[in-house]
Amino acid sequence: MSTSPLLEVRNLAKRFASRQGREPAPWVIRDLSFSVRDGEFLTIIGPSGSGKSTLLNMIAQIDTATGGEILFGGDTIVVSDPKALKPGLDRRIGYVTQDDNLLPWRTTMDNVLFPLEVQGRLDDKTRAHAETLIKAVGLSGYEKYYPHELSGGMRKRTSLIRTLVYDPPVILMDEPFAAVDAQTRVQLQEDLLRLWEMGRKTIIFVTHDIAEAIALGDRTLVLTKQPTRIKAEHAIPFKRPRNVKDIFGLEGFAQVYEKIRAEIQ
């Protein structure tokens, strides 16, 4: 694991454009700085409305920043000019959004193959990789189902492996498991950790669930209320590979949990 950061956010600031004649819109994010190492699983936790999605949108280059900069592998990414935005930074940043955003007219398999298809990388090898991923998350047998025929958890899995299938070096995840029931969530978390162990890509995982942030991350950032900046940072010492179901019983879990809970309020 290299020590130089793969992705760096420096003094990032965001305020949405205000309408004419109104007071300037308040800052959503201000002076927010952090960095992620290559292969790190970073979790970010913050109160609702703390601009978590906005932060990820800016990193994914689908929204502009008002100030500050973002560096990828040492290079500055243009973030202020909406016309210069490159969504996904040429496939180097994958983004698993809150909504699964599956194409309703494509089957599970065709949704997973979609990125490979548009990137012109669809061949026997990548197809086999897609099949491996489908099997790894327990979607075997559902390859020919349309999204409306799948459960919420299955759709989540499909959208997750749709991003994993093209191997972006950085993957952003915006509360991907927020909308599923508790049992499915634990299952999805285990799936995610297992898949992550296979490749150890860099992940920035945003959540409002403290237990989830601790269970998944190497490090957890706690955000303040708006205008958002980093309030605290916690290294999560638990060894890998982890078992999400056992994490609550581990020594030190309760301490970190209580600390983060106090910081969020």
Partner: protein, 260 residues
């Protein structure tokens, strides 16, 4: 089972209508309303000797050519203008004007310009199909889910791929909703235009029947036109059901087609 129930009920409705017709012809006289039996037998005789098919062929040709010439640019235009909302805004009042214009009032003009042949009928059909299909497709292009476009871009899709893999499939249901309305209307409009001035087609048969006080002929020709309209409607529904298998069956449109 539900399928057979619907079919049985339809046959029942049909029998009731025919019975009422029969009663009407007893009361009003066959001279004015003919009879179901005379109409149906004339329909099949005319079908058998090729007369009906020949005339229906002209009507189909007008409707089909007019449908294609009207619908294809109407479907392409909203896609082409997707990136230029200002142009859509500029042409909107003209499009609404064109949409609302009583097209049959244009028929005499088209006859002057294009003659009483097939061209003037095609022109009327085009002028109706185009505007209906333009607005149907436009609403489909506007109903686009921006999050899906964003997802595709994040996956590395370029502008052309977004159009092909996201915008187009999003609009297909609306395109079909437009065709479902405009193509049967194309047949009906072709028939009505033939009434105004022509020397062939189902409308011509109706007109000749009326001029000869041959009400049976009128009804047989109208029956022919109705069969055509129904056939076109079913053809559109069938194609739609085949292309849009991905839609959840709770969709009311699909439910409507699945019961047929």
């Amino acid at each position: 089972m539900k399928r057979y129930r619907v079919l049985a009920d339809r046959i029942l409705v049909c029998i009731v209508c025919l019975a009422l017709w029969q009663v009407a012809s007893w009361i009003l006289g066959t001279y004015w309303v003919s009879t179901p039996w005379a109409t149906i037998s004339r329909f099949f005789i005319s079908l058998w000797d090729g007369e009906l098919i020949r005339h229906a062929g002209y009507t189909i040709e007008e409707a089909a050519l007019g449908g294609v010439i009207g619908a294809v640019p109407a479907i392409i235009l909203p896609f082409a203008l997707r990136r230029f909302p200002t142009i859509v805004q500029i042409i909107d009042p003209f499009m609404i004007g064109g949409y609302g214009l009583p097209k049959l009032a244009l028929a005499p003009l088209f006859i002057l310009w294009f003659g009483i042949g097939i061209e003037s009928k095609i022109a009327v059909v085009v002028s109706i199909v185009f505007f209906i299909e333009y607005y149907a497709t436009l609403s489909g292009v506007r109903a686009l889910d921006a999050r899906l476009v964003q997802m595709a871009q994040l996956c590395g899709a370029n502008e052309r791929q977004v159009a092909r893999h996201v915008v187009w499939p999003c609009a297909v249901p609306n395109i079909f909703a437009g065709l479902r309305i405009s193509l049967p209307i194309a047949i009906a409009v072709a028939v009505v235009t033939e009434l105004i001035s022509s020397n062939r087609g189902l409308g011509y048969l109706v007109q000749m029947g009326a001029m000869n006080f041959d009400i049976t002929e009128v009804f047989a020709a109208i029956l022919g036109a109705t069969v055509l309209v129904l056939a076109v409607g079913y053809a559109v529904d069938g194609t739609e059901a085949m292309l849009l298998r991905w839609r959840p069956s709770s969709d009311p449109l699909q439910q409507a087609t699945s019961t047929t």
